[in-house]
């Protein structure tokens, strides 16, 4: 089990950041991701695997419409 933005989510083997983004239907392009407080470069979302028990923050960067 992992936590994504404070909510539990089932962990799967070889799960990547991109898999989580797709599962959550986060279509906004300005996403920033931290796994256990370590930032993940945007270009590495597809290849970065998320370990079990990770605390994942997926932040939508827009702070103004």
């Amino acid at each position: 089990m992992i936590t994504v933005n404070g909510e539990p989510m089932e962990w799967k083997r070889e799960m990547t950041v991109r898999d989580i983004i797709d599962a959550k239907r986060y279509v906004f392009p300005l996403l920033a991701v931290w796994i256990d407080s370590v930032p993940v470069p945007r270009d590495d979302f597809d290849i970065t695997e998320v370990p079990d028990n990770a605390n994942v923050q997926i932040i939508h960067m827009i702070s103004g419409g």
Binding site: P29, P39, I62, S63, G64
Partner: protein
């Protein structure tokens, strides 16, 4: 066009900008045909900075406590600010219009791109105040080339925006050089602005690629209505004194360096980020739909099955690509997209091929999903006519959405609408309503154009419509319509819309993602902090003459890897750019904290100004039920699982309750949360429980101006003495 008759004129010696300021403001009274130059003091710069700050200061000095929107002493004050007109960095050509609004009966500020703000400064003026009421239609001209300000008799029978703007660019341009028209800019409203309270101010810029004037809008608040009430057909500014260093900045090299850096960021990253250069703000259409934020059928829903029809890719194909669509020189963000060669299908210009500025996201949603229409061509046509008639597309969209729901609920009928079948999605009849608003003759359209706040009174009084129901579903606050995001799932955004100075426009704070999706604001104190920081940070754009988009619709590639999540949302590198640019232009060193302090001074001053005009207390920070949560069962049933969980989180078991009962229970919970939010935000802002800035706060800010303190002391009372 024949030579226009001069009714009054006045000579002046244009002051050259120095460090971003000319040090002079201009006052034109079209009633008694007088002109006045005022000096800008150092104290005025320190306290009000410029732009909207100057507008509020000048308006404060010119109106009475009792001034209403249509009193002759009310003004439209236009000011760019010290950074306005910079060409090295993107998004630096905005002006801010300030006035007492017909919709809200308090001060309003509304901004536009186009060339008017920069040209006004380069013509010698940090601001222009327009006061009085003319006897007949006039054109006000500030001509720095001739060193004259004139009031001319308007030759226009048709005062609609494109007609007047095109004619005046031609009139004031060199007949032998079409691109000489770029040295003028024209403000207009339109026929629809005369009879509705939704009048926008159109602001032109000459598009040298298309060889035509384009229009941007200070859309909100009814500024165009005031221009027409003053019988002003247009305001023209003209100067050839235009260059990349016309502001006479302290440090051009820094401006060039920072600009080059951001240009590179935009050119290399925009296609991977927000696609502002190709899709413009409609890149948000499908995103808002995916997150249940796209207002649909008067904000009942946030998502619709036909939303793919208005996908940004559709708009991207409609927009002409490959043209530098910046609304001021040097803006590589270039989001002022346009549809060229569009053939109008309805209205007075039916069959004519025109260029439409936009649609922007707000229009695509307001005059689209929110009225139940998912047809980009129809939205494009409404966009054109709204601009032409001088109508704000946001209030228009939200206002018509309210009318459609009243119609579908049976609160009003075809007998009341003069035959129009105003169901959601009925494109033909909604378009007809727009034309009737533009003509200003039809009595139902006249009622609609007064805005939702007054429609509720009028529909109840004239048609017997249920007032309580309309209060629940009418998406307005302080008298003005909500802009185009569904706020009901974000407590912080309730404040972002309804705890604002002027009503629910999204220019103070847009916190839905931070609050609801990112979960970065878990406590009421966190939400209050965001509702303190973002409104104050964003107010700064309005003081100095900037567009907000280059701040956070593009971000440095390493923004998220360099900063913590909480910090990254503020885009620290871009904030530092603004700090450095302020010093590079004005020569005054500030910190990022002082930047916010500059805003906080004006923010609190404007709050006291509302108080002075009889508003500005807690009771005016009202929120309709529709903004808090689902009102009707079908809204609940569109997201049953989600809302059932919301109810459970509030300690109520949804089992056995009908959908309508669930709506009512959740409303009760959320209304209590709203009151808690108000208390927490007021405390963070340094206001008392009635929403009035305290004397202590004003002293801290250096805004303890005697007449400001006097207003606070007059109105600040213990809770048992608040007026109902």
């Amino acid at each position: 066009m024949e030579k226009m008759k001069v009714l009054a004129e006045w000579s002046y010696d244009p002051a050259k900008p120095f460090r971003g300021y000319t040090g002079k403001t201009l006052k034109v009274n079209v009633g008694d045909m007088t002109f006045e130059s005022k000096d800008v003091s150092e104290d005025m710069k320190d306290k009000f900075t410029g732009g909207r700050g100057f507008g509020l200061k000048l308006l404060w000095d010119s109106v009475k406590d009792t001034t209403k929107w249509n009193d002759p002493e009310n003004e439209v004050v236009i000011s760019g600010g010290p950074l306005c007109g910079v060409t090295q960095y993107p998004g630096m050509g905005k002006f801010y219009a300030v006035f007492v609004s017909p919709l809200t009966d308090q001060t309003y500020d509304s901004n536009a791109g186009g060339h008017f703000g920069p040209l006004l400064k380069f013509a010698g003026w940090d601001a222009i105040e327009i006061q009085g009421k003319a006897q007949k239609d006039v054109v006000v001209v500030v001509d720095a080339d001739e060193k004259k300000v004139k009031i001319l008799e308007s030759p226009f029978d048709d005062v609609n925006a494109y007609t007047v703007t095109e004619a005046l660019h031609e009139y004031f341009g060199d007949p032998d050089d079409i691109n000489d028209r770029r040295f003028s800019s024209v403000l207009t409203a339109g026929k629809g602005a005369e009879t509705s309270f939704w009048g926008c101010i159109n602001s032109s810029f000459w598009d040298s690629h298309r060889k035509m004037p384009r229009l941007k809008q200070a859309g909100r608040g009814g500024g165009g209505t005031i221009l027409r009430d003053k019988k002003i057909a247009a305001v023209v500014v003209k100067t050839h004194d235009l260059s990349g260093t016309a502001n006479n900045p302290a440090d051009v090299d820094t401006l060039t360096r920072l600009g080059a850096k951001l240009h590179k960021e935009i050119i290399t990253l925009d296609s991977k980020q927000c696609r502002m250069r190709t899709a413009g703000t409609p890149h948000l259409n499908e995103i808002m739909n995916e997150y249940h934020l796209l207002p649909t059928n008067n904000y009942k829903f946030g998502q619709h099955k036909d939303a793919d029809n208005i996908h940004s890719k559709v708009y991207e194909k409609m927009f002409t690509q490959g043209i530098a669509d910046g609304c001021w020189y040097g803006c590589t963000m270039a989001c002022a997209k346009a549809v060229d060669g569009y053939e109008l299908k309805t209205g007075p210009w039916k069959g004519k091929k025109i260029t439409v500025d936009g649609p922007e996201y707000e229009t695509a949603a307001g005059l689209g999903s929110n009225v139940g229409v998912f047809d980009p061509e129809w939205t494009t046509e409404t966009n054109f006519y709204a601009d032409h008639y001088g109508l704000d597309t946001i209030s228009l969209g939200t206002g018509i959405a309210f009318v459609c729901e009243c119609y579908e609920l049976g609160l009003i009928s075809k007998d009341n609408t003069n035959g129009l079948d105003l169901k959601f999605g009925n494109k033909d009849d909604i378009m007809e309503l727009l034309h009737r608003l533009g003509e200003g003759k039809d009595d139902f359209a006249l009622m609609v154009g007064k805005g939702i706040h007054k429609m509720k009174d009028l529909f109840a009084e004239k048609f017997g419509a249920d007032r309580k129901v309309m209060e629940r579903i009418g998406m307005e606050g302080q008298g003005i319509e909500v802009s185009e995001y569904v706020p009901k799932e974000s407590i912080a955004q309730w404040g972002g819309y309804f705890l604002t100075l002027k009503g629910p426009q999204h220019d103070e704070a847009w916190l839905i993602f931070m609050d609801r999706v990112n979960k970065q604001l878990p406590t009421f104190e966190d939400k209050a902090e965001a509702l303190h920081y973002f409104p104050n940070f964003r107010t700064w754009f309005s003081l100095v003459g900037l567009c907000k988009l280059p701040w956070n619709d593009i971000e440095p590639e390493d923004n998220a890897t360099k900063h913590s999540p909480q910090e990254a949302a503020r885009v620290p590198e871009h904030v530092q750019n603004y700090v450095d640019i302020f010093e590079a232009v004005t020569g005054k060193k500030i910190t990022k904290e002082e930047l916010v302090l500059q805003s906080e001074r004006v923010y609190n001053f404007q709050r006291v100004f509302q108080l002075r005009l009889g508003k500005g207390t807690r009771k005016f920070h009202n929120i309709p039920d529709r903004a808090l949560g689902p009102v009707w069962a079908d809204e609940w049933e569109a997201r049953t699982e989600y809302y059932d969980n919301e109810l459970k989180a509030g300690g109520i078991d949804p089992a056995g309750l009908s959908s309508q009962e669930k709506c009512d229970r959740l409303q009760k919970i959320r209304r209590e949360q709203w009151e808690l939010l108000v208390d927490t935000v007021y405390k963070r802002r340094g206001w008392d429980k009635n929403g009035i800035p305290t004397v202590k706060k004003l002293k801290e800010l250096g805004m303890d101006i005697p007449e400001v303190i006097a207003v606070v002391e007059k109105h600040a009372k213990p809770e048992d003495q608040w007026k109902d």
